[in-house]
């Protein structure tokens, strides 16, 4: 559940805006309220093939939901969340509308494992499972993902692109061996997209040396500069303990620590973020309210000063209005930043793909494409997806940094010009934070990239390559069986010419494909960056508008000094009482936000 006190506070603040007739302040609070109503905290369970990811999820929820098999791997991500009843729904996204099919629980395996759905032939986006479990009732959503098989594989890229919208990542690796190079490479990239990482070492029941492995893993993490905890667990013991209710076994299984990590480091962290951002949102509202009241109070107490105050406020309003102009510094930062970013990202993508292209041509120069085409196509695909995935990581990192810059410049401008309406830098940062961790899918930058990559690279370009392969003059009867062993020696000149032609054609196909990838992925990331630009602009423009309205109200308030002393005294008393009330609301907001920092 979302933090109840946060929800309550927003509701009170909303009532206050109605009571003080300030609907202008209500819009943002309503958005906050909507964000809170989606309490999901998503945890991605990732790792190489056959490390026990599905079994880990099963042990966590103490139910056999995700299919586990010695051989067959998971093909479709499975999302496990809280629900009053056990249900399974298959989701196929596409063309704007989602197709949702409920299926019986015991038939899930037929749809999500490689056996029933090899290579995800059924094109399912995910399976959703609801279970009545206490652990999940905190809003925790566990996502069992297909094994990544390295950063460059299709699953790796898909997992990677889902990371920015996740609240935490659990990397699963079994106790049979220490981390391998591909695992660490994946982890390093994942940290950049989702810094909240837990490392789970599974199957400790099977390996007497699991303590050594945990030590070695900790060493590798330390060497790689990754700050993450290693949690050794045994899913088998946990499941067995659930049957026998043996407390010793539960302790030995290590799940208490894992559950503790999920609740304290993941769910609690998401809740903390809610608290901070809600506290600050309400605080801003309170300040806007009290600013108007204080302006009136000052002019009531000392009518002489009213004119001057009104003048100052008017001036301040002009300056705040200037913030809404395109020439404002934060706007320049944003627009220039996005333009630079688009250029850089585009260059980066081209550069990476050009390297792939060069290597590919080198490979094709060295061999007859007819012999190596299948392997080559797969290698090539992997290289391209890896390049795209790395480019994506970099895009995400850079755009986050830009958002912080913009927030900072905006906050600076306000600090300088409106000391008495000071917005704590943290308030803006808090909002940006929520952009970092989109609760719900509203800030869909990452999500869009995900879809973009799937639809763009994964979908269309796969087809693109398939068709180039089909049109390829590979099945030249002369070449068959040749070259596989010693054939190269018997190649006649005429065959040499054929090889050269094939090489030229293969290179043409490579270049064409790289071209299309550059175009498609480039367009996707440009669109996404534009989207980020719009989101940021709208957000800060709205803040500026709010401020401007608040100042306008204050000007009116400052000019509304009453004629008679008696009326004035009464109004002053009223205002003081109102201010006190607003102040007490602000105090609650502060304590909500402060509760996070203190413990």
């Amino acid at each position: 559940m979302a933090v109840p006190e946060a929800v309550e506070l927003v509701d009170i603040a909303l009532k206050a805006t109605t009571a003080y007739e300030r609907p202008d302040l209500a819009t943002r609070l309503q958005q906050t309220r909507a964000r809170l109503s989606d309490p999901n905290v998503r945890v991605l369970v990732v790792g190489e093939f056959k490390q026990g990811k599905s079994q880990l999820v099963n042990a966590l929820v103490n139910a056999t939901v995700c299919p586990v098999d010695d051989d067959i791997a998971t093909a479709v991500p499975t999302l496990v969340r809280h629900g009053d009843e056990t249900t399974v729904t298959l989701v196929r996204e596409g063309g704007g509308s989602d197709e949702r099919t409920p299926v019986p629980v015991e038939r899930l395996a037929e749809h999500v494992s490689e056996a029933g759905n090899p290579g995800n032939r059924a094109r399912l986006t995910r399976a959703e499972v609801t279970l009545p479990r206490k652990l999940l009732s905190s809003g925790l959503v566990l996502v069992d993902t297909p094994g990544v098989g390295g950063l460059g594989s299709a699953h790796g890229a898909a997992t990677m692109s889902a990371l920015p919208t996740a609240d935490a990542v659990v990397l699963v690796s079994d106790a049979s061996q220490e981390y391998s190079a591909p695992e660490l490479e994946f982890l390093r990239a994942a940290m950049k997209l989702c810094p909240n990482v837990g490392c789970v070492v599974t199957k400790t029941d099977l390996y007497p040396h699991w303590r050594r492995i945990v030590e070695l893993d900790e060493g590798h993490l330390h060497d790689a500069g990754i700050d993450a905890r290693v949690i050794p667990v045994s899913s088998a013991l946990r499941l067995h303990a659930a049957l026998t209710q043996d407390m010793d076994l539960i302790t030995e299984s290590g799940f208490q620590e894992l559950v503790g990590f999920l609740l304290r480091k993941v769910v609690a962290r998401a809740d903390d973020l809610d608290r901070t951002s809600v506290g600050q949102d309400v605080l801003i509202t309170c300040r806007a309210l009290s600013a108007t009241m204080r302006a009136e109070l000052i002019s009531q107490e000392d009518p002489e000063r009213a004119e001057r105050l009104a003048g100052d406020l008017e001036e301040a309003k002009t300056r705040v209005d200037a913030l809404r102009q395109r020439s404002a510094r934060w706007q320049t930062t944003l627009n220039d930043g996005i333009a630079d970013l688009i250029a850089d990202i585009d260059y980066d993508l081209r550069d990476r793909l050009r390297t792939v292209s060069r290597e590919a041509e080198q490979l094709l120069d060295d061999a007859d494409p007819a012999d190596i085409w299948d392997q080559f196509a797969e290698w090539f695909h992997r290289q391209v997806s890896q390049a795209v995935a790395q480019n994506f990581v970099w895009t995400t990192e850079r755009s986050r940094w830009l958002a912080e810059q913009v927030a900072e410049h905006f906050a600076e401008a306000i600090d300088v010009q409106l000391p008495e309406l000071r917005i704590a830098g943290g308030a803006v940062a808090g909002k940006v934070d929520s952009l970092e961790m989109p609760v719900g899918e509203k800030f869909g930058a990452g999500q869009k990239l995900f879809v973009g990559m799937r639809g763009g690279y994964g979908g269309m370009l796969m087809l693109g390559l398939a068709s180039t392969v089909a049109g390829f003059a590979l099945l030249n009867p002369v070449s068959i069986g040749a070259g596989l062993l010693f054939g190269a020696k018997t190649v006649r000149d005429e065959r040499k010419r054929l090889v050269q032609r094939r090489q030229a054609e293969a290179k043409g196909a490579v270049r064409k494909h790289i071209d299309e990838a550059t175009f498609q992925v480039g367009k996707d990331s440009r669109d996404n960056l534009r989207q980020i630009q719009r989101e940021l602009r709208d957000h800060f423009t709205m803040l500026a508008e709010e401020l401007s309205t608040a100042l306008a109200e204050s000007v009116v308030a400052a000019q509304s000094a009453l004629r008679t002393d008696a009326d004035r005294q009464k109004r002053i008393a009223d205002l003081n009482a109102e201010l006190e009330r607003v102040e007490s609301l602000a105090e609650r907001a502060r304590s909500l936000a402060g509760a996070v920092a203190s413990p």
């Binding site: 051989d71 400790t204 007497p208 067995h240 061999a367 007859d368 290698w379 068959i480 596989l484």
Partner: protein, 499 residues
């Protein structure tokens, strides 16, 4: 391909002609010490045992499997990454270890034994300076085969990986190993990438005929359950049918390396401990075996905690589980248990495959390595006097039916030539895919009557003649069918008809 009039060459003839060609080439290049040295090395190699490299991803269980094959704990093993230097094991009258640094002469190392296993001290030489270690070890198992242990691929120390790849697929020369046993755990993108690397570099070496794959640590696939190996064998079978793997290796075998190693080196005290465990009530043992920790920790006098920890280390949970079950089912002495454990570990199957695929083709594989070496010299240092030599290389290549068979096998496995599944299987067998003996080629049991062999061969011959001559058969398939026909003729030539 080759003229149908030429009769099939015997492997000995092939070896002899390749040797002679090697000598002639050495004469022609006598003035080039580098080339001559390189060729002389290959000539010497001819007389040596077959070199089989054991490769695979880090922690795939390479050293453990090597120990299992030798039947002694000679390669050091550890829970963490262990083998960091390419290490050769060869048979010799007395044990000796020599280190070959990259620069400088070889140096002898002292052998120390640590809990039964050997360990080598590099005397402070950094691993990247060491080219290889050469271990002399008196062992029957090493007499016909030199085993080469390689560092893991996909190792965290990038350099260790690079050393493994450089050894197995050097950029500029034929591989120093004649054949490769590639260990893989559950199929992983990295594995296939490596197998690709092994085949892709240069067309000449691209052949799945000198690689077999082992699904290693097979007991762990089924998380140590008693039926784990059945599960592993099923997976191996699936891999054997996998298009991608078929094009990369001969076959896939599931082996539980740790079990095999420990079973081959089982001591009497270990058997006693296993028997004591088996004598306990079954429920007690099962509850102890819930986890490795529990097994070592449970309070029990006999076998005591230390013995149990040692037992677990050697056999793993699966081995202990299987061992006690077998004893309970009536296996009473340690040699019977050893035999049964080895059988169940899949080691026997692996040895059979090794014998069929490598040992039988030893001369062929050696000839192949040598021809590659000659070809490399001729290409690197072309000279007019070498022209007849090149013609001779081509003649041997085109004429030796063994090479034609290998090539056709590759084409069949790589999918370049297609038959119906049944016919493809038949063709592969007749071409020697399951072993070179007439019985293996005809899919009959070893020791089948010569008369039956002859009849079966005659039957196969007419079957494939029909296929080769059928106008419906495509050109490439017909070529392959003609190769099979010649193989059938070869079988007929060595077997007598009914009298």
């Amino acid at each position: 391909m080759s003229g149908p009039d030429r009769s099939p060459q015997h492997p000995m003839d092939l070896t002899a002609s390749v040797r002679q060609l090697l000598r002639r080439t050495i004469e022609a290049y006598a003035d080039s010490p580098q080339a001559a040295g390189w060729l002389q090395h290959h000539l010497d190699r001819f007389g040596e045992p077959l070199r089989v490299a054991i490769a695979g991803k880090v922690k795939a269980g390479k050293s453990t499997l090597l120990n299992a094959l030798v039947g002694e704990q000679i390669a050091p093993t550890d829970a963490g990454e262990c083998t960091r230097v390419v290490t050769w094991y060869q048979d010799a009258p007395s044990p000796k270890v020599r280190m070959f640094p990259r620069n400088g002469p070889p140096r002898p190392l002292t052998i120390t034994r640590h809990r039964g296993a050997l360990s080598f001290d590099l005397q402070g030489v950094p691993v990247e300076q060491v080219d290889r270690l050469l271990v002399d070890w008196p062992s029957q198992s090493l007499r016909t085969t030199n085993l080469i242990d390689t560092p893991g691929i996909g190792s965290l120390s990038a350099d260790t990986s690079a050393r493994a790849s450089a050894f197995l697929t050097p950029d500029d020369s034929p591989s120093p190993a004649d054949a490769v046993v590639y260990l893989m755990r559950h199929l992983h993108a990295g594995d296939v990438r490596f197998l690709e690397a092994f085949h892709d570099r240069g067309v000449a070496r691209a052949t799945p005929v000198n690689t077999i794959a082992v699904l290693s640590r097979a007991d762990e696939i089924g998380v140590g359950r008693l039926d784990a190996l059945t599960s592993a064998r099923r997976i191996a079978r699936r891999y054997r049918g996998d298009e991608k793997l078929r094009g990369l290796c001969q076959t896939v075998v599931a082996v539980a390396g740790l079990l095999a190693e420990s079973a081959r080196t089982m001591r009497q005290d270990e058997f006693t401990a296993l028997s004591e465990l088996a004598a306990l009530p079954r429920a007690d043992v099962e509850s102890m075996l819930l986890s490795a920790d529990r097994f070592g920790r449970t309070e029990l006098d006999r076998p005591d905690g230390d013995t149990r920890v040692a037992l677990l280390e050697r056999f793993g949970l699966f081995g202990v589980r299987l061992g006690t079950t077998l004893i309970r089912q009536g296996v009473t002495d340690s040699s019977a248990l050893t035999a049964e454990l080895i059988r169940r570990s899949g080691l026997d199957e692996l040895r059979t495959v090794l014998a069929n695929q490598f040992a039988e083709r030893r001369d062929l594989l050696k000839s192949r390595s040598a021809l590659l070496a000659i070809d490399l010299v001729l290409t690197r240092e072309p000279r007019p006097s070498a022209a007849p030599l090149r013609a001779e290389v081509e003649r041997i290549l085109a004429g030796a039916h063994e090479f034609v068979e290998l090539r056709t096998l590759s084409a069949l496995r790589g999918g370049a030539v297609t038959f119906s599944p049944d016919a493809a299987e038949d063709a592969e067998r007749l071409l020697g895919g399951d072993g070179g003996s007439p019985a293996a080629r005809l899919g009959l049991a070893p020791g089948t009557e010569p008369g039956d062999l002859h009849a079966a061969a005659r039957e196969a011959l007419s079957r494939w003649k029909r296929r080769a001559e059928s106008p419906l058969t495509g050109r490439s398939s017909a070529d392959a069918a003609r190769v099979v026909v010649r193989s059938c003729e070869g079988i007929l030539a060595t077997s007598a008809p009914y009298r």
